[in-house]
């Protein structure tokens, strides 16, 4: 049972002047010394959007080079830097911090807490990110250039590069520390600070998905930190963890990396599931179908994510029994994921549906993410994966999951909660233009990549045979369209919504449920200082 009702007799924290009696600090101090979860959430969201644009520019540089066969603009070494930095910036700088931003804004509001459990650590978690981003981006300007080993920074490539790799590794260390602190904060807040009466099985799905995601982060980010620390000692202190010449094993790096890397995929998608699980019921005007099964499915996905890592490594050579185990374990993930998709569709079934922008992005998410899920299932089949490894089919697959999955869900969440954040309604026409432009150009960009991959075009290569030209040109045109759509989003949706627009009501969506809609819009600086009682 996910819906909650609030006992207003006990809820003194909203709709009164005393919400703001401490007042918000002003000027730069408000942001530098921020301990308020809403301010820190805002900082995270702006940071991640900036990184999203930077990573997007790198993507457009990649697509520009690939518009034609041959080398037009960049040499292969720099091209490798572009693909690597695009991946690192998008994964660690854009998607992960964006979801932490959503968590900061929404979790305390959804569980009726006054703030996050560790407000100062929350500040520290955020302010670690800009120096890390500067280190990462600054690596382009040092001798040898930026890391160019792919976002997976496989040894022995990563043990041989210039100081740009050290900067990248330090950046990952810092971002990892930030993530671990953020996770500790989120778990503690959810476990210890829920409003009276809000049992775990009454908790909003976004909080559930983030709780599970935070546990995943705590388990796997230290593993990544260990792997890159070993890489660092191999580079500078004479160890040979991953150096075969000294008795080490470069394939071991891949095992350790993917023990982090596969759960990481779910870290980037589970909070998206949570957002969609709010938006769909709201605009179908029905409670979420199968709330308990959603919780169990999320947990199952998280647990299974720990036992599938080697499906990224089928071509490294492994015993057939291991291939079978990882293949079947990977396929098993389709079951809880299918439960989720089924539940979203069942929620919409016979609902009084309307298609405002959040719902458009949520339905677009379900449609396109499912396509990415199916190509994932195809890639899980070992003999197929051995053929498809490192081709554009894989690039198409994970962009369907991470762009149409994570990013579209975040857009959905933005349109859904922006009235609560800003106090203004966004312009519906602009939102719809943004949606249609994004989903059309997204498919123009990434759908042809399936064909390129099936035809054998390898990823991370600056040049290609002439037979691949047509699909590459279509993909490049789509990519520039997608980039322009996001510029439109910034200038015609985000900024106008912050600056003004129609005043938002406390609950702008008539089908919405949850504590966040019981506070005024915009949410006051202090909320739920007296915890509400949930019935």
């Amino acid at each position: 049972m996910s819906s909650t009702t609030v006992d207003h007799a006990h809820d003194h924290s909203h709709g009164h002047g005393h919400d703001d009696h401490h007042g918000a600090p002003h000027g730069w101090r408000r942001w530098l010394f921020a301990t308020n979860h809403k301010d820190i959430g805002t900082l995270y969201l702006w940071f991640s959007f900036t990184m999203f644009l930077m990573g997007g520019v790198l993507a457009l540089m990649i697509r520009t080079e690939l518009f034609q066969p041959g080398l037009q603009f960049f040499n292969p070494e720099f091209f490798n830097q572009l693909t690597t930095m695009h991946g690192l910036m998008m994964v660690f700088g854009a998607i992960m911090p964006a979801f932490v931003g959503f968590a900061n804004w929404m979790i305390p509001l959804q569980i009726g807490a006054s703030d996050m459990a560790f407000a100062r650590m929350n500040n520290f978690s955020f302010w670690l990110l800009p120096p890390a981003a500067i280190l990462l981006a600054g690596s382009f300007f040092v001798p040898g250039g930026a890391p160019a080993a792919g976002w997976t920074i496989y040894a022995p490539l990563s043990t041989q590069m210039g100081m740009g790799m050290d900067m990248g590794i330090f950046a990952l260390h810092i971002m990892g520390a930030s993530s671990i602190m953020g996770s500790i904060n989120i778990i503690t807040t959810i476990l210890n600070m829920r409003a009276p009466g809000m049992t775990l099985m009454k908790m909003p799905m976004f909080c559930w998905t983030w709780l599970i995601t935070a546990y995943l982060l705590i388990a796997v980010m230290p593993v990544l930190a260990g792997a890159i620390t070993m890489t660092l000692t191999d580079r500078h202190f004479g160890t040979t963890f991953f150096n075969a010449a000294g008795g080490g094993d470069p394939v071991m790096f891949q095992h350790i990396f993917w023990f982090f890397g596969h759960p990481e995929v779910y870290i980037m998608i589970l909070p998206a599931f949570g957002i969609v699980s709010h938006v769909v019921p709201t605009f179908a005007r029905k409670p979420l179908f199968g709330y308990a099964s959603m919780v169990y499915a999320t947990s199952s996905i998280a647990i299974l994510s720990f036992i599938v890592w080697a499906h990224h490594m089928f071509t490294t050579g492994m015993p057939v029994t291991a291939q079978l185990f990882f293949m079947y374990a990977t396929m098993l993930i389709a079951v809880p994921t299918g439960v989720k998709v089924f539940n979203w569709i069942a929620t919409m079934w016979r609902g009084s549906m309307t298609f405002e922008t959040p719902m458009l992005f949520a339905v677009g998410f379900i449609f396109v993410f499912t396509m990415g899920g199916f190509t994932g299932l195809i890639l899980a089949v070992t003999p197929i994966d051995i053929q498809m490894q490192d081709t554009y089919y894989v690039v198409a697959h994970f962009h369907y999951v991470l762009v149409a999955g994570s990013l579209f869900a975040m857009f959905s969440g933005f349109y859904y909660w922006a009235p609560k954040w800003t106090g203004h309604m966004y312009n519906e026409t602009s939102g719809k233009i943004h949606f249609w432009a994004s989903i059309i150009t997204f498919n123009i960009t990434f759908f042809p990549m399936h064909f390129l991959g099936l035809a054998g075009m390898p990823r991370r290569i600056a040049d290609y045979p002439a037979q691949f030209t047509d699909f590459n040109q279509i993909a490049t045109i789509g990519a520039f369209g997608f980039g322009l759509s996001q510029v439109y989003f910034l200038f015609f949706v985000i900024i106008p919504t912050i600056r003004g627009g129609k005043q938002a009501e406390a609950k702008p969506w008539d089908g919405a449920e949850g504590l966040e809609w019981t506070v005024p819009s915009p949410a006051p600086f202090h909320t739920f200082e007296e915890p509400p009682e949930v019935k």
Binding site: M193, V220, M221, V223, A227
Partner: protein, 46 residues
């Protein structure tokens, strides 16, 4: 009366804070175990 309410609220907040600290330390120790564990595994058990 109001003073007593304030004291009760402070006591409640203190209880939540110490609970938070305990949970936070447990979670941090899990992270440390995973970080150290990967070195231990690689150095002595592989």
């Amino acid at each position: 009366m109001e003073q007593r309410e304030q004291q009760e609220q402070q006591a409640r907040q203190q209880k939540v804070r110490s609970g938070n600290l305990r949970t936070g330390l447990i979670l941090a120790s899990i992270a440390v175990v995973f970080f150290v564990g990967i070195f231990v595994k690689r150095m002595w058990f592989s």
